[in-house]
């Protein structure tokens, strides 16, 4: 499994994929946080990273599927999947190795944003006047949200040989799980079903308040496991 993880990670880092996605993420969040007047901290006047954590899920929704779209689709298209599957490796190890590599890229994208935190920390009228608990909670939430998107992306990538199709399916599922369920739950006829509890947004918001609730943690872990299990099942589909 470690070999797969290492190969995938170096595959990302040796090509432009990782740098472009990380770069795009940082540029977009930077613009929203410091430049665009409606969301910039300087205009807003409060020492908080709220706009970062508001915009980041929407960026992840597009960038994470872009990272994961090739991971299995390309192996299938090039036929190298046969190479992997006939080595002493279980399908779980293949899925898990690839998943961990995608999550590592995600972490690499998040690490530089700590600079935003330090900046805001220093900029407060009394330096340090920032709700650090909420920021830490939000980071954990964002990481879990990204990990959930990565599992979705990997699943979409396992569906076929076409990367673009994988990308579009992944974006759609991510969008639906993140805000689609939320919006659906506002339909009058569905109001009794508490649909928003199934959506990612509700749990993301809950963690962002700085309260780590086991319910939210269990939600994210089971979401990730569900999609990884689906991925593994689809890979095993050649055996049916």
């Amino acid at each position: 499994m470690f070999s797969i993880f290492y190969k995938e990670l170096s595959g990302y880092l040796n090509s432009l994929v990782a740098y472009i996605t990380i770069g795009a993420f940082l540029v977009i969040t930077g613009l929203f946080l410091w430049v665009f007047p409606e969301s910039s901290i300087l205009d807003y006047g409060y020492a908080g990273l709220d706009s970062l954590f508001y915009i980041a899920p929407y960026i992840f929704m597009f960038l994470i599927p872009a990272i994961t779209m090739r991971s299995l689709a390309e192996e299938k298209k090039e036929g190298t999947f046969e190479l992997l599957a006939t080595r002493p490796l279980t399908d779980w190890q293949i899925v898990w190795g690839k998943y961990m590599a995608a999550v590592s890229i995600l972490k690499l994208a998040l690490i530089p944003t700590i600079i935003y935190y330090i900046t805001v920390y220093q900029l407060g009228v009394t330096p340090g006047n920032i709700d650090s608990g909420a920021v830490i909670g939000s980071y954990i939430g964002l990481l879990l949200l990204g990990a959930a998107f990565a599992a979705t992306g990997l699943f979409a990538s396992s569906l076929g040989k076409n990367q673009i199709v994988a990308f579009i399916i992944a974006v759609f599922i991510c969008f639906f799980a993140f805000s689609g369920l939320d919006s659906l739950s506002q339909l009058i006829s569905l109001q009794n079903f508490n649909l928003s509890a199934l959506g990612i947004n509700e749990h993301y918001q809950s963690i962002s308040r700085g309260v780590l609730d086991t319910r939210d943690l269990v939600y994210f872990l089971s979401y990730i496991l569900f999609f990884l299990l689906l991925t593994k099942t689809i890979l095993g589909g050649r055996k049916w």
């Binding site: 070999s3 090039e78 036929g79 046969e82 190479l83 006939t86 002493p88 050649r238 055996k239």
Partner: protein, 243 residues
Amino acid sequence: MSVEVQALTKVYGPQKAIDAISFSAQPGRILGFLGPNGAGKSTTMKILTCFIPQTSGTASICGYDVSSHPMEVRRHIGYLPEHNPLYLDMYVKETLDFMAGLHQIRDKQKRIGEVIELTGLGIEQHKKIGALSKGYRQRVGLAQAILHDPEVLILDEPTSGLDPNQILGIRSLIQELGKTKTVILSTHIMQEAEALCHQVAIINKGKIMTDTLLPDLYHQHPGKSLEQIFVSVTNSAAAHANV
């Protein structure tokens, strides 16, 4: 016997890709798997390498059954799939290092050096696979297959698309490997089977037509070349099927 196949059958939907085939192969003998396109050669090889499961029948490699002990089987085989899929954006050494890692080979660098030497990849070893010519890519595929020193080598059309010089190079390599290992290779080039194989199995429409040592085959069909034998065996089957 290091490869034992009994009544192996694979059904794809309404079509029988292979139909109750049985054969065996042993070390020191190269088994040539001959047959027209779509005869079921690749399907058999995919089952032997645990890529897809059989519908019925059994197959075992070095005493390990492919359906009950797939991990053991995979440790004992080296497989060169059809069309030789490779990670084109990896370097030669990088890809060998990755494969060595998958097999948990102990002294990786030493073994990779040996295999590069053996397959004649020396001058191209620092290139990306995508930059290699077809012949060298084929060598990389072979290097990957023999890296963990498997007892059984399964090569699906190892020389397809190569120029005559490259074919000779790959053939002599296979011959060398065949002295100690069990080699099963598929081809539809008759000259190649004649030059390389000790034992020949002709497969047509999922059924094994003949499976004998090459000298015995000539003996059964006196005065005919392998090509003529192949044509008569595979066509008589077609005629038979029509009746």
